[in-house]
């Protein structure tokens, strides 16, 4: 690789904006610390200097994209974002002709939590060096293989849809791999339990749920203007947090996503109580693959 993906991305975004091909370019900017990035919309060629591309570009850009529907937008896409975007296009939430898609040869994103586990202390820097990630903390430098720090969704990535993007940066896309069996290992384990044990499992996790609806807010495929499931902040049922109210919410959320969830795991990423919501996503995905 001659120039880094980040440099290539910045220059392409700069050119696209300068030539007027797109009005906005959507990517990531650095967040509050080296392990955080935030979705960022560049509106002028100058602003593209703020774009970053590193090993923790986890948030799904497809949801942010939907908020700017109607404008001509360029966007840098990982495989998982592309899959979500494909669903949004299928559901007529965006117009393909108004989008300029740059596929990125993503090698899988690192889990910020795995990084802080590998390098305790305040992380001050994160760099890529070949297959390794170099993590700098206040008093140490740790080198770890990228493969060992990946998010679970990335370790079992199902690949970029074929013939989807307008252009490519980085490695040419490999053929979409067959879905690895490990992707469904956790769901399979749950399915072999007796219903009562499954109920106990979910009761334990869901009893932590505060019905904050972060999972629903972040979900790129939850796009109804008004939601039939969510309750007002001061609603007595929400205040009471009866277990069945929480079950009903998660059950219905799963039902509404049954035909579309692409397993981007944004729900479990943002859950402040670390409820394994991604298990629900995997379950939906598994069921659909068996139809």
């Amino acid at each position: 690789m001659t120039t880094s993906l980040e440099t290539q991305l910045r220059s392409r975004a700069h050119d696209l904006l300068a030539e007027g091909v797109v009005e906005l370019f959507l990517g990531y900017r650095q967040g509050s610390n080296p392990l955080r990035v935030a979705p960022f919309v560049a509106r002028t060629p100058l602003e593209t200097a703020k774009l970053v591309w590193n090993a923790v570009c986890v948030p799904n850009l497809a949801g942010t994209l939907a908020k700017h529907a109607g404008q001509r937008i360029g966007v840098a896409l990982k495989a998982c974002d592309a899959q979500t975007l494909r669903e949004l296009l299928k559901l007529n939430q965006l117009e393909r002709s108004r989008l300029y898609l740059i596929g990125i040869g993503c090698e899988g994103m690192a889990n910020p939590e795995a990084i802080t586990d590998a390098a305790p202390g305040r992380v001050t820097g994160l760099a890529e060096a070949g297959p390794d990630l170099v993590i700098t903390t206040a008093d140490d430098v740790v080198r770890r293989e990228r493969g060992t720090l990946l998010l679970t969704k990335c370790a079992t990535c199902t690949g970029m849809p074929t013939d989807f993007c307008d252009e490519w940066l980085g490695e040419a896309p490999p053929a979409p791999p067959t879905v690895p069996a490990e992707r469904f290992a956790a769901v399979q384990a749950l399915a072999t339990l007796a219903p009562a044990e499954r109920l106990a499992f979910w009761s334990e996790h869901l009893s932590r749920c505060t019905l904050c609806y972060a999972c629903q807010t972040v979900c790129p495929l939850c796009f109804c203007k008004e939601c039939a499931l969510t309750l007002e902040r001061d609603h007595p049922r929400r205040q009471a947090r009866e277990p069945m109210t929480i079950f009903a919410y998660h059950l219905m959320r799963a039902y509404h996503l049954a035909d579309r969830c692409t397993g981007c795991d944004e729900c479990s990423r943002v859950c402040p109580e670390d409820i394994p919501l991604n298990l629900i996503c995997r379950k939906l995905e598994q069921d659909r693959s068996q139809v």
């Binding site: 749950l190 399915a191 339990l193 219903p195 009562a196 044990e197 499954r198 109920l199 106990a200 499992f201 979910w202 009761s203 334990e204 009893s207 039939a228 499931l229 049922r237 009866e242 277990p243 069945m244 109210t245 079950f247 009903a248 998660h250 059950l251 219905m252 799963a254 039902y255 049954a258 629900i280 379950k283 069921d287």
Partner: protein, 138 residues
């Protein structure tokens, strides 16, 4: 000794077949348990799984959705939609560990009063054995 447990069942019955079936059961004086609370809807296809989830949330121990036999729908295909929807919904109920016997989808025609009574009686029996729907807070 406390009262024996009596399940509460919410019945969402289609106006053209299942509700008429319940009516036939009544007119023919067929006995069935009084545990069922009936809500009449225009079609089983009108029943959103959300109604079922809400029924559980508000204290139902079981929910019965009943409509016309496949092919007999007054609106031609409403019950086919219901069947597809609730197949998925039942899968998810099971995934969350909620007993699938608490939810039942049945086809009852307007003349099948006795069949309606049997379905309700069976479901009540099952739920009596199963006990109330109570989720424990950990």
């Amino acid at each position: 000794m406390s009262e024996p447990f009596e399940p509460k069942i919410v019945g969402l019955l289609c106006s053209w077949c299942a509700y008429a079936g319940a009516d036939t059961a009544g007119v023919s004086r067929v006995q069935y348990p009084p545990n069922l609370r009936i809500v009449r809807v225009m079609c089983s296809g009108r029943v959103d799984p959300l109604f079922v989830a809400r029924a559980f949330e508000h204290g139902a121990d079981g929910v019965l959705v009943a409509g016309c036999h496949p092919g007999d729908c007054h609106y031609l295909s409403g019950n086919n939609y219901a069947e597809e929807r609730f197949a998925k919904f039942a899968q998810l109920l099971d995934f969350f560990g909620l007993d699938q016997r608490r939810f039942k989808l049945a086809w009852v025609s307007g003349s099948e009063g006795a069949r309606f009574a049997t379905i309700v009686a069976e479901m009540t029996e099952e739920l009596r054995a199963l006990g109330p729907l109570e989720l424990k807070v950990q």
